[in-house]
C-alpha cells in the first residue's frame, strides 16, 4: 500500500506536500471501503441467488414479489433487518451478547484482505496469506461461542458449543488440504500461488491437475471448507429442526444481520481460496494476464476470478440443497477418522511426488514429452 501511495504522490503533482503515511491511510480506507462494498453486494445478491437456487431445486419459485422476478428481495431483507428492533434478552450477558456479532463479522470479512481478485487487485499481498486466512477465520469460533454462551438460552448454548467443536475440528483438514498448493508454489502468498499456476497450458496449469494427490486434495478441501463455514450438510450449529436457529436464536435486527452477512462472507472467502489455490485463480487461459495492458489485464483477470469463484459458490449452494444434515457424532467421525487421515495421506503423496519428479506436474511432463 505504501508503494502505491509513493507512486501516487509522484504521479499527482499537488500531493507532494502530503506526507506518505496520510496518503497511504486514505488509500487503505478507500480499498477497505471498496472491498466492503463488494462483500456486502455479494452477500445481498448471494442470499437472493441462494433462495432462487433453493426454489429451482425444490420445484418451487422462490422470492418473486419485490421488483421484477424478485430481484430486489435482498434490499427489502436488508431494510427489514436494519429497521427491526435490536432486542437483548433480560438474562443475557449484555456486553458479550452485543460484542459477539462483530467477532463473527470481522472474522469473515478479514479474509477478504488477501483474496487475489486480479493481477494487481489485492488489498494486501501478505507473504503469509494462506496462514492469515486460516488464522482470522478462527476468530469466527470465538464469536459463535460468545453468542451461544451469552444468550443464556439452551438452544443457543448447544449451537455455540457445536459450532466451536466443529470449526476447530475442521480447521485441521482445511489447513492440511491447502498445504499441497503451498508446497507446489513454494510460497504462502496467494498471489505467488496463483502465479505458479499460470503459463500457456490454459487450464492444465491449475493445481487441480498437477498430480492425482492435488486432485483429491481439492475435494477434501471443498468438503472440509463446507463444514468450516457451517454450510448445510454440516450446519449443526444452526440446525433449525433441532436447535431452532442455534447460536443466533436470540438475535434480531442488525445484529442478526451481521451473522447473516458473515455466513455469506465466509462462503465467498472459501470459494475464492478454492479458486486461488486449486483452480488457477485469475489466470486467463492461453494468455499471460501480466503482459496485457494494466487496465485490461486487471479487468479480464477480475472477470475470470469472479467467474470461477461464483461457480464454486453455486456448487456450494447446490450441495447445500442436496444433502441432508448429518448427526453430530457422524460429523466428528467424518473429520477425525476420514478427512484428517486422508489429508495427511495426500500431503505425503504430494511431498513424495514433488521429491521424485522434481516438482513437475503431470501436464508439464506430457508437455515436455511432446517438446
Amino acid at each position: 500500500m505504501e508503494a502505491l501511495a509513493i507512486s501516487l504522490i509522484k504521479a499527482v503533482p499537488f500531493l507532494g506536500a502530503v506526507p506518505v503515511w496520510a496518503v497511504a491511510l486514505v488509500l487503505m480506507v478507500a480499498v477497505a471501503a471498496v472491498v466492503l462494498a463488494f462483500a456486502l453486494t455479494f452477500e445481498g445478491v448471494g442470499s437472493l441467488v441462494l433462495r432462487k437456487v433453493a426454489g429451482d431445486i425444490q420445484v418451487r419459485i422462490g422470492p418473486n414479489r419485490v421488483g421484477p422476478n424478485g430481484v430486489l428481495q435482498f434490499l427489502a431483507d436488508g431494510v427489514k433487518l436494519i429497521l427491526k428492533e435490536d432486542l437483548t434478552p433480560a438474562s443475557a450477558d449484555r456486553p458479550l451478547f452485543k460484542m459477539a456479532p462483530y467477532f463473527v463479522f470481522v472474522g469473515s470479512f478479514a479474509g477478504f484482505v488477501v483474496v487475489p481478485f486480479g493481477v494487481g487487485l489485492i488489498a494486501a499481498d501478505l507473504n503469509i496469506g494462506v496462514y492469515y486466512v486460516m488464522a482470522v477465520s478462527s476468530l469466527v469460533v470465538i464469536g459463535i461461542l460468545l453468542a451461544g454462551w451469552s444468550s443464556n438460552n439452551k438452544w443457543a448454548l448447544l449451537g455455540g458449543m457445536r459450532g466451536a467443536a466443529q470449526i476447530i475440528s475442521y480447521e485441521i483438514p482445511v489447513g492440511l488440504a491447502l498445504i499441497p498448493a503451498v508446497m507446489i508454489a513454494g510460497s504462502l502468498s496467494l498471489q505467488d500461488i496463483v502465479r505458479s499456476q499460470g503459463g500457456l497450458w490454459g487450464i492444465f496449469g491449475w493445481n487441480l491437475f498437477h498430480n492425482p494427490f492435488t486432485f483429491f486434495s481439492f475435494f477434501l478441501y471443498f468438503t472440509a471448507a463446507q463444514a468450516e463455514t457451517n454450510q448445510t450438510p454440516f450446519d449443526l450449529p444452526e440446525a433449525e429442526s433441532e436447535l431452532v436457529s442455534g447460536y443466533n436464536v436470540e438475535y434480531s435486527g442488525i445484529r442478526f444481520g451481521y451473522f447473516f452477512l458473515a455466513e455469506f462472507g465466509d462462503m465467498f472467502v472459501v470459494a475464492a481460496l478454492t479458486t486461488a489455490l486449486f483452480l488457477g485463480g485469475w489466470n486467463i487461459p492461453f494468455f499471460h494476464a501480466e503482459t496485457l495492458p494494466w487496465i485490461w489485464g486487471n479487468l479480464l483477470s477480475l472477470g475470470v476470478f469472479l467467474g470461477k469463484a461464483f461457480t464454486i459458490v453455486l456448487i456450494m449452494m447446490w450441495v447445500r440443497w442436496t444433502l441432508p444434515r448429518i448427526r453430530v457424532d457422524q460429523l466428528m467421525r467424518l473429520s477425525w477418522k476420514y478427512l484428517i487421515p486422508l489429508t495427511f495421506f495426500n500431503l505425503l503423496g504430494v511431498s513424495l511426488w514433488l521429491l521424485v519428479f522434481n516438482g513437475k506436474g503431470i501436464p508439464a511432463m506430457i508437455a515436455s514429452l511432446f517438446g
Binding site: 425444490q58 420445484v59 444433502l323
Partner: protein
Amino acid sequence: MGLKEYLNDIVEAVVTTAKGMRITARYGLDPKEETTLQYPEERWELPERYRGFLHNDINTCISCNMCVKTCPMDCISLEAVRGADKKMVLASYDINIGRCMYCGLCVEVCPPKSLKHSLGYEMASVNREQLILRFVQEDASEVKARVARQVAEAAAKAESPAAGKPAPPAKGETKE
C-alpha cells in the same frame, strides 16, 4: 472396522453424494417442473362436482324443509308462509356456512334441485355474522306482511268478484 469397510464408506459417500446431486441438478435445471401456483393471480381448475359454498335458487325452491331436516349441523334455517296461490313463499332462507361441513346431504335430498354446491371457496371474514348466507334479500317480516296482505286481498276478491284491482300495488312492492 477393517480397512475394507473404511474404504467402502468413502466410496459410498462419494457415490451417494453424486447421485443426490444429479437428482437435484435435474430438478434445478428443468424449467417446467414448478408446482407452485401463484394463488391470487392463478387459480386451480376446480372439478365439476366440487363442493363449494351452498347456493339456493329461491325462484325454484319449494320451501319443502327437506334440507333443514337432513342437515346434520343444523346450519340451514328456513321460514316460509303459504301464499295466495296456495304455494309456499320463502320468507327467509339462511345458511350458516361457518357451520356447514359440506357433506352434501341437503343437495341430495332437494326435490326441485334448487340447492346446489357452487364453486366458491373464498369467504374470509372478520366475524361469524358475515358467514351467514342470506338468499332472500327482503326482511322476513316484510315478506310475511306482504304475503298476508295478498292472501287477504285474494280472499276479499273471492268474496266479491266485482273488485279486481288490488293486485298492482302488491306487485310494486315486490319490485322494491
